[in-house]
Symmetry: C2
Subunit: 306 residues, 2 copies
């Protein structure tokens, strides 16, 4: 494949950046990958694992001369990193990110982007419950979605190129407007994570059921929540701090529905529960048909021989 | 292996009973397995798949002469089935069940158990998002927990025998007192299911994000909820109708915690969120160490080559 960019810089070297580095190398998408992370330990790990082709000592050094600079840091750190690399950006370069929230990234990054440099945001909707550079793997983005979120008036060629890049990493891509992005993510990702965190916290805190019991008997439903409640705390703190409005709106809907089901339980309205539970079953079928999960019982975990 | 029971009767032939039939045959635990289901279609499927060795035309016929009769019907149907089979039970037989709630099963079944017949409840904490006889598989109980819940003053030999039977099916077993059982299950299973149902319902109902978007982008967290929200609606209606008190108690704790996190989001208290999220991560580690889930990213789904 002809390289899509000559040189790509990854600022931040965690799960997402590490996987991007490996996926770029797998596909031969670029000629050189520079990388920078704040801690020496992460930089050493990235070098040892070959996640990038050259580890740099500063974000600016990594960004210098790059055709694409991807900010792979928590949403709350995007503004400071953008300010730091701004003087090093070459004319015609594209700055992008991998943040889970877009309005706040736009607000934080845009003021620092120099004239002649393109800014096009992106959000790869892929991840695992693990974090850090050693969690990266080349297949993370395969058949997952990456949302491309260009600002109004963005350079069409720069947007097309970034989109081709993400397809080369294995993703499906879709373009989305910034406010709609944040709302969609509140529904499919942010509020589900908050709820999972809450449920896990409640179980852990409930003294009449021991932690040992919770862990032992988790296969009865609870454990599906624990995977997403094990995600990176810094990243998720920043998500909720920066996607406040949409999160609170969806949370409001959630508690409204939950209270209606709670009332049905209290009053013994079995029909309400039955109808609700029948309806939700259909969505699962849609997800499997769309290739976004496996139909194997229990996600194909465990004992069943397939 | 020497058969633990000569003849076992399964009343109800869904996912759990079907898996029990196959697991009994795999291990050679019994000499004969009779089975009965309410619909002709289910009985035919069970016969065709060889889930039991003899399909009967009534619950009483299946129970007649059996050493163990297992009620594998929704919790709300246990009482009626117990009444129906009572006259057919042979002296010294054991009646058991696989219900997810125990206090209400005790209350419904005990009055129908004849003198000289033992009643010992059991709850295999295993299942998948699929239901019906064709969903059964012999490995369902392997390395999962089955809670043995004997009534006060139960015959120790009958309890031991049932426990050996469940170990023979592949389960780990633990004995538990009835009220504690219902509380533990509210925490690890019933409330998590209700929350998952609620979240899926909210996403489906939220008009500004299309169903197509919800399905497409579900890998970002939402899809983990959909698996448990696809479980059998009748079974779950009955669970909430019959484990009302414990469910409402845990739900109260859940909303209390959720409101605290919601307030932290609204007021911008990032430290509260960070501390909470850090704490919940540890529980996940415990579940993996206890062998109740896989440490593979994304449950080992999808693209990663392991």
């Amino acid at each position: 494949m002809t390289p899509i960019y000559d040189r790509v810089a990854l600022i931040g070297l965690g799960l997402i950046a590490g996987s991007m580095g490996l996926a770029m190398q797998r596909a031969g998408l670029v000629r050189e990958i520079t990388g920078y992370a704040r801690t020496a330990k992460t930089r050493e790990t990235a070098a040892r694992l070959g996640l990038v082709t050259r580890v740099c000592d500063s974000a600016a050094e990594a960004a210098e001369g790059a055709d694409l600079v991807v900010l792979c840091v928590p949403v709350g750190a995007m503004g400071a990193v953008a300010a730091e690399i701004a003087p090093a950006l070459k004319p015609g370069a594209t700055v992008s990110d991998v943040g889970s929230v877009k309005r706040s990234v736009f607000d934080a990054v845009t003021p620092h982007v120099p004239e002649g440099v393109h800014f096009v945001a992106a959000h790869p909707m892929a991840g695992t419950e693990h974090s850090g550079p050693e969690s990266g793997f080349a297949e993370l983005f395969d058949n997952r979605w990456c949302l491309i979120v260009p600002p109004e008036g963005a350079d069409p060629a720069a947007v097309d190129r970034l989109e081709r890049f993400w397809r080369g990493l294995g993703s499906n891509t879709e373009r989305m407007e910034v406010e709609h992005h944040d709302l969609v993510c509140a529904v499919v990702s942010h509020v589900p994570h908050l709820i999972a965190y809450t449920m896990v916290g409640v179980a852990d805190d409930f003294r009449r059921v021991s932690e040992q019991e919770v862990i032992k008997f988790s296969a009865a439903g609870f454990r599906d929540f624990t995977r997403i409640a094990a995600s990176d705390p810094t990243m998720w703190r920043d998500v909720f701090m920066t996607n406040k409005e949409a999160t609170l709106e969806i949370l409001g809907r959630f508690t409204e529905e939950l209270f209606a089901l709670q009332r049905a339980i209290r009053t013994g309205d079995g029909q309400h529960l039955f109808d609700y539970f029948t309806h939700t079953r259909a969505i699962r079928r849609g997800i499997i048909d769309a290739g976004q999960d496996t139909a194997a019982p229990d996600f194909g975990r465990g004992a069943r021989k397939q």
